[in-house]
Structure formats: structure tokens, C-alpha cells
């Protein structure tokens, strides 16, 4: 159900496919089915009516975020990004393009990077969500964060959490095998307006080469 920053789409149901399908008559049935499936996934925590439709008002749900469980009430149309930022005050992921282009909202869903603006909060029920806040702290940073500081791979810093999540995924996945082209491919779904790309590449390669970055 996820749109990855590298453009690859995985199975399931994304906000993009939802929007694309909204014009078709089949959409209502598809939507109902998906939510029903989600409701089953989520167990008794997610209320749905007899047709398996949640909403339109706020729906109580539980999200697994950074290793903990967080309860919240949000409308089914609220994106995961807005739920994280507005309801859980996890504001590291940024709302910038709000349409799956810039990667500033990149988080990990079950260990894979996704655009949080392209996932509904309700879709993320049952998944393991990792945000930038769960990756490292200023005092105990992830190797990618350490390297970003060393190479000054940030200026205004607004794209930085998204880049860090993409780069940390790349180092986790490719380890010391990661090369210049690999960093570019892993972050080509992230945009930076201040222009830090060369420093992002240098920082990520160093983190990948380090022991903990693997």
C-alpha cells in the first residue's frame, strides 16, 4: 500500500490510487472493502458500520509509532502525515508539497520508506511506523545524522528529516556497498531547495561505510 520515494509502488491501497479511483463507479466498493480489511486488521480498536465503512467523523484508532502505541481520533481522510504532525506532535516529517513529490514527509512504514502525505492514517493501523524522532536523538544520533552534521548536509533543514530517513534506509539496506549512484537513487524522491545534494551524498557514503550504518 505504499508509495516509496524511489517510485516503486507496493501492493495495496495508497492515497494516490484512492484519488485516481475516486471518479470510477467501482471506487465506493473498493474503498469499503479496503476499510473493512483494515478494520479486521486493526481488531476491535477500529469501529466501522455494518457496511464496513469508517467515518466520516473522527474514528478512534491506535498507531504503532517508534515502538510505542499511540491512540488518536482522526477522520478517515486525514493523512498519516497530518496525524503524526497535528495529533501526535511528531513534527519532524514536514508537509511541503502534500502530493508525493518532495519527500520531506518521508517516514518508514514496516521498515520501508514512504511518503506520509500519501498514506491515510487509517491505512497505517497495524503497521510499524518509524519517524525521524524514532531514528536518533541529538544526543544519541543515528550515523547518518552524525554525518549530516559533519558534512553540513543541511541548510534551512526543512527537507533534512525526509532526507535522513531516505539515507538511513539506504545505509541500512545497502551498507558499505552503497555508492554515489545508490545514494542518488535512494534520495531522488527527496527535494532540497537550499541545494545540499553533494553534502548529502558525502555524508551518506560515510555513514554507510561506518560499522553502525550497516
Amino acid at each position: 500500500m505504499t508509495q516509496r520515494p524511489d517510485g516503486r509502488e507496493e501492493g495495496g491501497f495508497s492515497r494516490r490510487t484512492l484519488l485516481k479511483g475516486a471518479g470510477a463507479t467501482a471506487a465506493a466498493g473498493a474503498l469499503g472493502g479496503a476499510v473493512e480489511a483494515l478494520a479486521q486488521d486493526a481488531g476491535p480498536g477500529l469501529p466501522a458500520n455494518a457496511s464496513g465503512i469508517a467515518g466520516p467523523g473522527p474514528v478512534p484508532m491506535t498507531l504503532r509509532v517508534n515502538g510505542g502505541e499511540r491512540k488518536l481520533d482522526v477522520e478517515p481522510r486525514r493523512t498519516l502525515l497530518d496525524a503524526l504532525r497535528g495529533d501526535l506532535d511528531l513534527t519532524g516529517a514536514k508537509r511541503v508539497c502534500d502530493r508525493g513529490t518532495c519527500g520531506a514527509c518521508t517516514i518508514w512504514l514496516d521498515g520501508e520508506p514512504v511518503y506520509a502525505c500519501m498514506v491515510l492514517a487509517i491505512e497505517a493501523v497495524g503497521s510499524e511506523i518509524t519517524t525521524i524522532e524514532g531514528l536518533g536523538t541529538p544526543d544519541a544520533p543515528h550515523p547518518v545524522q552524525t554525518a549530516f552534521r559533519k558534512y553540513d548536509a543541511l541548510q534551512c533543514g526543512f527537507c533534512t528529516p525526509g532526507f535522513v530517513m531516505s539515507c538511513a534506509w539506504a545505509t541500512k539496506t545497502h551498507g558499505a556497498e552503497l555508492d554515489d549512484a545508490g545514494v542518488r537513487a535512494s534520495t531522488c524522491g527527496n527535494l532540497c531547495r537550499c541545494g545540499t545534494y553533494p553534502h548529502v551524498i558525502a555524508a551518506t557514503l560515510e555513514a554507510a561505510a561506518s560499522e553502525e550504518g550497516k
Binding site: 497535528g86 506532535d89 520531506a104 553540513d152 543541511l154 526543512f158
Partner: protein, 739 residues
């Protein structure tokens, strides 16, 4: 009484000059070119890197305040229209709606797509969306030009009914010498029309604020602004209260590039009124479409240039006109295309054309990337016509002593001679190399005060209202103070971006570092003097008997003390001093900062696709305090320049008057996959204008990039590229025209 100081400024190992300056009696002596510095000039990671890289930095967009409501504007997307009816009754009754205010009544005229018509405030963003959709506004839609060509056409609808759309501004005419005679006598001349597009700033954090009433008629405002002071002043005026009742906080800021100067906008005012009336915090951030349409842009340009030289290869004349649109505003669409080179005879007329489009705002080196694209394009064309190497031609006509050095340094780095010889090469994929010049003139200004507190435990706090927009201001302030106190920069706590501290400069025109840095240095110096006075008391000697080695104090009889030991003499109440920015020294090394860039490109002549392989950027910005963050600014300016050269283009629908690509997937900016290799060469000099020898860096680094890329593409193709962005379609069209 000011004291006279004579010292050497310029580049260590390069051009220098000795100057005599009057130094304010409270200020520290200037460093000069030979200063041996311990912190300044070393690579220091920015102080807020960890908090930013861990996602903990709180930007305005990230503020979630207890009881916060949301506000947004219903916008009109017609370029030219008159409101004929507004019905907000349904919206006002909807769940969660807290307020509805009409900004434009029936009869109100709209002169750009994106104008706010109704402001709404609601409990949640979803409820806000629903309410905005429920408002009915009808318009009498009128014709209106949105492009420069259409705006200046005969019979075009006037934006301002009282005057023509096309206006030559106050500084729109330049003339010197006898350009007509010089053209008649020229050994060679070239004429071409250069066109550049409208570019939008596209900062990742959109404009906006969170306004929170704090009781007693006072407000705290988190604002995404490049000027905390101007934002406070304009917000106070909007609310009809004193500036003392408004506190503006900008701890971190997600990009501005000029678009966030100048204070509050209509959406900020709407949020403030809702906050006042509701007694609750209200958040108002622009969405991406509005950011593109209403929050500023770089004007386009049509530059007709004729450049001439004598038989010796000396430029003798430049004659030209420019037209450009800054949207529905008046002036500000000029192109800086008459500087850099010695041009004894000149006539340039610059016309700004009003159009029914969102207004331009200052954008990183206003007028310059477009002007240099046309000027350096003309220079290349003339050199080519005279069969002179373009670099040799520049060396002959460029009077700036430092740029003379920079041209050679950059040429050597990119291997100019070899590449000019070997390129464009055989086959369908051609390569080329080109260059262009940078200029800027920011020495810093103002009389800003930096406060500095030292506690007996040795902790140091530096404070000022100045915002760090991503340039590293926080780090630069810490480094300058650390240098004076013999500390590491990490020891210094910098509190900025808050109008509760002394006023700081707005971050525009590359002013920030040279405007606030010298005050920080003076503050550090005053803290050192205060500690020396305490030591003198303790050591029972005169304060002038205390020496400072850069890390330790020493006094008579072999006594010495580190900073931390001296701090133990401070009373429990702590020590507070300040430093002030003094007027610039009159002389200086050069009033202009210099720079140049070289581009190496590859062009597929079958597809028209351009790859920028490499940029060599050579720049001076006075003394470089932190080469690490300075390089980031250079790299950033280059990347924005490549993006401007090849991709970015605000496309307007000429019939509907709306922007057709107001998103980040359709308004293309350069991504990491296409990012060239960038060599950044900083020529640090003492500028001779202030105690730290600093000047501004942010703007000049984006000035020459598009010109250098265009010249490189022209070299590769053997056809002059005269229009930005240089898209594959334009490459193929140019090749088709040449065939």
C-alpha cells in the same frame, strides 16, 4: 574619540592594499589580512545541525499550540475579475467553523490569480477545507495579460487604471559616453535578444505564522520570516497595537531566498484578527499553490543587447533595452546587465511591464542571474565573432583585481584550455565549457546590538533577534565570540530569532553576517575586557597590564588565567556586556565582492537533454568565518542556478491567467540525480569595511551559474542559447534553426 588604525586588507598571498581607518573608541581593532585566528576560518559544524537532523527543530509550520485553530483564505484564481457576489452563509454554519471574514466586497477588483477573497477559521484543517468549499463567490471575469509580451501589447488592459502597463523606472535609464559613435567605430559588434523566465522561490516551508494571544492585549507570533523585526512592526500595525505588545519568534526557518522579507501579508493579518477575536492561537500556513502564486517570484526578462569592441578586443559600447514583468506591482523587473566589464559607452533602458499576475519579491540577487546571462552571453558571442578565447576576452575587459585572480584559478581547476580545445568533440553527444561572472556589494549595515552574558560557571549566552534562515548565522555568531574569548564555538549558547532580544538585521541582500558579525565580535571583546578588569582587581594591577594571548590572560609577576578561571571572579549575578555594529570604514579593499563560475556540460543532440557535469565556483565574500557552512551556501547558489538554467519556469495560461504548474511535481526544481559535481573555491579576504572584514555571500553565488551553463551549452552546440530555461525542446529548436 575614534582612533586611527592602519592595516593591510585584501587576500593573503594575493592582491592587498594598506588602508587607514577610523575605529570607534569602543570597537575592537580590525583583524587585517595577516591575523592569526584560532576559530574563525576553521570548519565548524553548524550548531543547530543535530537538532535539525534529528527532526527536533521546531519551525513555524511545526507549532502546535493548545487550543489552536486553523485559518486559510478562499482565493480567486482569475487574473482579472470583479467580485459580483459573495455568499458565506452556508460556510459560517458548518461544524467547527469559528470565523468567516470577507476580504473583498462586491465590486472589489482582483488583479492577479491567487488573491484572497474570504478568510475562514476553523477547529480542524478538514473542517476548514469543507467550509472553503461551501463559499459561493461570483465574478465578472475580465481580460488581462499575464506575460510581458501581452502586457506591453497595444490595447492591453491596464493593471493600474491610472497609467500604462509599461513604465521606465526611476533608475531605468543608464547612459554614458557616446554609444552611437562607439558602435559606428567598432571593429565588431553582436546583437541578440535574451529571454529569461519567471522563477518562483519555492521555499520548502511555505509562508505563514501562528498568532497566539497571551493576555493583556499581547501576542506571541511564530513566523516564517526573514526579518523578525519587520514582521513584529507590521503585525503590531495590523493589530493597531504597539510593537511592544508583539513578540515574534523565528527559531528555525524553512527557506526564504528573499520571498519572506517585508513583514506580514494578508493571510497573516487574517490569522491575527481571528486570534484576537477568538482569544485562541490561530495557525495560517500557505498551501503550495498559493506559495507559487502569491508569495513572490523572480521577474522574467527580454533583454535586447548590442555589444561592441575595438580591434584590440576592448569592449567599447553596450546598447540595449530590457522588458520584464514583476506582476501586478510597479517596478523591480530590471536586469543587471551593465556591470562587471569596462563599458565606456553605454545606453540601457529598462522597462517594467505590469501584468495581471502575482507580484515579484526580492529573489536571491534580484536582477542579476538574468542580467549576467545576457551580458556574459553577449561577451561570449562577441569573443567568438572576433575569434578571441572567451576567457582571454574577459581578462582583458574585467577591471576587478580579485576577479582577475579568480578567472585564472577557476580556469586552471576546470582545465579551460584543454576543454576548449577538445570540445565539442565528434558524435551526437557534444560537450562544452563556459564561464560567467559574479558581483555583489554587501558590506553590512545598521547599528545592531548583540548582548552577551557570562556566568561564573563559564557559560556564555549571545543574544539578538536576528533569524538564521539556513545560512549558519547562529554558528557564525558563536565563532566570532569564541574567537575573542579563547573558547570553542560549541561552548557558546546562541539565542536568536526572538524579538525579546535586541533588534537584528533582516536577512536580505546578503546583509546578515556582515551586519551582525562585527557586533558579536565587539561583544566578545567587551566581555574579555570586563574579565581583564576583574583580574586586574584580583591581581592588584592596572587593567592595561593584563595581556591576552588568544586563550589566556597574563599579568605582572608571571600570573596567568584561563577564561574559565577568570569567570570565577564574576559575581553571582553574572556579567553582561554588549557589542554594537559601528559604521562601515570608508575605504576597504573593494566595494564589490567578486566571483566567477565555470560550467562543463554534455548535450545529447538527438534528444536535446543537457547534463551539467561540473561547476567550478570561485567566490569571495570578505573574510570567510566558517568555510564549511560558506561552502554550503556556494553549492546551494550553484544548484539553484543550474535549476534556473535548465528547469524552472512559472507557466501561465495566457487565456485563464492562472499558473498551470503550481505544484512541486510540475514546477521542476533540480533533484539530486541531476546534481553536477561542484568545486567550490573560496578566496577569503579581509574586506576592510568592519572589524571582522566580512561581506555577504548568499547572493553572488547564484549570479553567474545560468550564464555559465548557457555559454557551455552554446559551446557544445555551436549555436547561441538565448532563452532560459534551456529545455530539450529549445536545444532541438536551436539546432534546427542552425541547420
Amino acid at each position: 574619540m575614534p582612533r586611527k588604525v592602519t592595516y593591510t586588507v585584501g587576500q593573503a598571498g594575493g592582491p592587498t592594499r594598506e588602508i587607514s581607518v577610523n575605529v570607534h573608541d569602543l570597537d575592537v581593532d580590525p583583524w587585517g589580512v595577516d591575523a592569526k585566528l584560532r576559530v574563525v576560518g576553521t570548519e565548524v559544524p553548524r550548531l543547530d545541525a543535530a537538532v535539525k537532523a534529528s527532526g527536533r527543530a521546531k519551525y513555524t509550520y511545526d507549532m502546535n499550540r493548545p487550543g489552536m485553530a486553523y485559518s486559510r483564505l478562499l482565493r480567486c484564481f482569475h487574473a482579472h475579475a470583479v467580485v459580483t457576489s459573495v455568499d458565506t452563509s452556508a460556510a459560517a454554519k458548518m461544524p467547527g467553523v469559528l470565523g468567516v471574514t470577507t476580504l473583498l466586497d462586491v465590486g472589489g477588483r482582483i488583479t492577479f490569480a491567487g488573491k484572497g477573497v474570504v478568510a475562514v477559521c476553523a477547529e480542524t484543517e478538514e473542517q476548514l477545507d469543507d467550509a472553503l468549499h461551501a463559499i459561493e463567490v461570483a465574478y465578472d471575469v475580465r481580460p488581462g495579460a499575464v506575460t510581458t509580451d501581452d502586457g506591453r501589447a497595444e490595447g492591453a488592459e491596464r493593471v493600474d487604471e491610472r497609467r500604462d502597463n509599461a513604465v521606465v523606472g526611476r533608475r531605468g535609464r543608464q547612459e554614458r559616453g557616446d554609444p552611437d559613435a562607439a558602435l559606428a567605430a567598432a571593429a565588431a559588434q553582436v546583437s541578440a535578444t535574451f529571454r529569461t523566465q519567471v522563477q518562483t522561490h519555492s521555499a520548502l516551508e511555505t509562508h505563514g505564522c501562528v498568532v497566539e494571544p497571551t493576555g493583556d492585549g499581547e501576542y506571541t507570533v511564530w513566523a516564517s520570516t526573514q526579518g523578525t523585526g519587520s514582521f513584529r512592526g507590521t503585525m503590531a500595525r495590523a493589530l493597531g497595537i504597539g510593537a511592544d505588545k508583539v513578540r515574534v519568534i523565528t527559531e528555525h526557518m524553512g527557506g526564504g531566498f528573499g520571498a519572506k522579507l517585508g513583514g506580514v501579508d494578508e493571510w497573516d493579518r487574517a490569522a491575527a484578527f481571528f486570534a484576537r477575536d477568538l482569544g485562541r492561537p490561530v495557525k495560517a500556513m500557505l498551501d503550495r499553490r498559493a506559495e507559487h502564486l502569491v508569495a513572490g517570484n523572480r521577474p522574467d526578462s527580454i533583454q535586447e543587447m548590442t555589444l561592441a569592441a575595438n580591434a584590440e578586443g576592448e569592449i567599447t559600447a553596450l546598447v540595449g533595452t530590457t522588458h520584464g514583468t514583476a506582476g501586478n506591482g510597479g517596478g523591480g523587473a530590471g536586469a543587471a546587465n551593465t556591470r562587471i566589464y569596462r563599458i565606456p559607452n553605454l545606453r540601457m533602458t529598462q522597462t517594467t511591464v505590469s501584468t495581471f499576475a502575482g507580484r515579484a519579491r526580492a529573489f536571491r540577487a534580484p536582477g542579476h542571474p538574468q542580467g549576467i546571462f545576457a551580458l556574459d552571453g553577449s561577451v561570449d558571442a562577441l569573443a567568438e565573432k572576433m575569434q578571441i578565447d572567451p576567457l582571454a576576452f574577459r581578462l582583458k575587459n574585467d577591471p576587478h583585481p580579485l576577479r582577475q585572480v579568480q578567472w585564472r584559478v577557476g580556469a586552471e581547476r576546470i582545465e579551460w584550455e584543454r576543454l576548449r580545445r577538445e570540445y565539442p568533440g565528434d558524435g551526437t553527444v557534444k560537450r562544452g565549457v563556459g564561464c560567467a561572472a559574479a558581483i555583489w556589494f554587501q558590506r553590512g549595515r545598521g547599528n545592531y546590538v548583540v548582548n552577551l552574558q557570562v556566568a561564573r560557571d563559564g557559560s556564555v549566552i549571545v543574544s539578538n533577534a536576528v533569524q538564521d534562515i539556513g545560512t549558519g548565522t547562529r554558528t557564525v555568531l558563536a565563532m566570532l565570540v569564541a574567537e575573542e574569548l579563547g573558547l570553542t564555538p560549541e561552548r557558546i549558547t546562541v539565542r536568536i530569532g526572538d524579538t525579546n532580544f535586541p533588534a537584528g538585521p533582516g536577512s536580505g541582500g546578503s546583509t546578515t553576517a556582515p551586519s551582525i558579525g562585527p557586533a558579536a565580535r565587539e561583544a566578545g571583546y567587551h566581555a574579555r575586557l570586563a574579565l581583564a578588569a576583574l583580574l586586574a582587581e584580583s591581581w592588584e594591577c592596572e587593567p592595561d597590564k593584563i595581556d591576552w594571548s588568544g586563550t589566556t590572560f597574563s599579568g605582572p609577576g608571571g600570573k596567568n588565567s584561563t577564561f574559565d578561571e577568570a569567570c570565577k571572579l564574576i559575581g553571582p549575578e553574572g556579567l553582561a556586556v554588549s557589542g554594537q555594529r559601528r559604521p562601515n570604514y570608508k575605504q576597504g579593499f573593494s566595494g564589490e565582492t567578486a566571483g566567477c563560475q565555470f560550467a562543463e556540460v554534455e548535450v545529447d543532440t538527438e534528444t536535446g537533454v543537457i547534463r551539467v557535469l561540473r561547476i567550478v565556483a570561485v567566490h569571495d565574500a570578505g573574510r570567510i568565518v566558517d568555510p564549511l557552512t560558506a561552502r554550503s551556501q556556494v553549492v546551494g547558489g550553484v544548484i539553484q542556478g543550474v535549476s534556473y538554467a535548465l528547469h524552472e519556469d512559472r507557466r501561465m495560461d495566457r487565456n485563464l491567467g492562472d499558473m498551470v504548474n503550481p505544484t512541486l511535481d510540475t514546477y521542476r526544481i533540480l533533484g539530486i540525480a541531476d546534481c553536477p559535481k561542484i568545486d567550490c573555491l573560496l578566496t577569503s579576504i579581509d574586506s576592510g569595511f568592519n572589524n571582522a572584514g566580512m561581506m555577504g555571500l548568499g547572493e553572488p553565488v547564484t549570479v553567474p551559474t545560468a550564464g555559465a551553463v548557457a555559454n557551455a551549452v552554446s559551446h557544445a552546440l555551436g549555436v547561441r542559447m538565448t532563452e532560459l530555461p534551456i529545455t530539450p525542446a529549445r536545444v532541438l529548436a536551436a539546432l534546427g534553426g542552425a541547420r
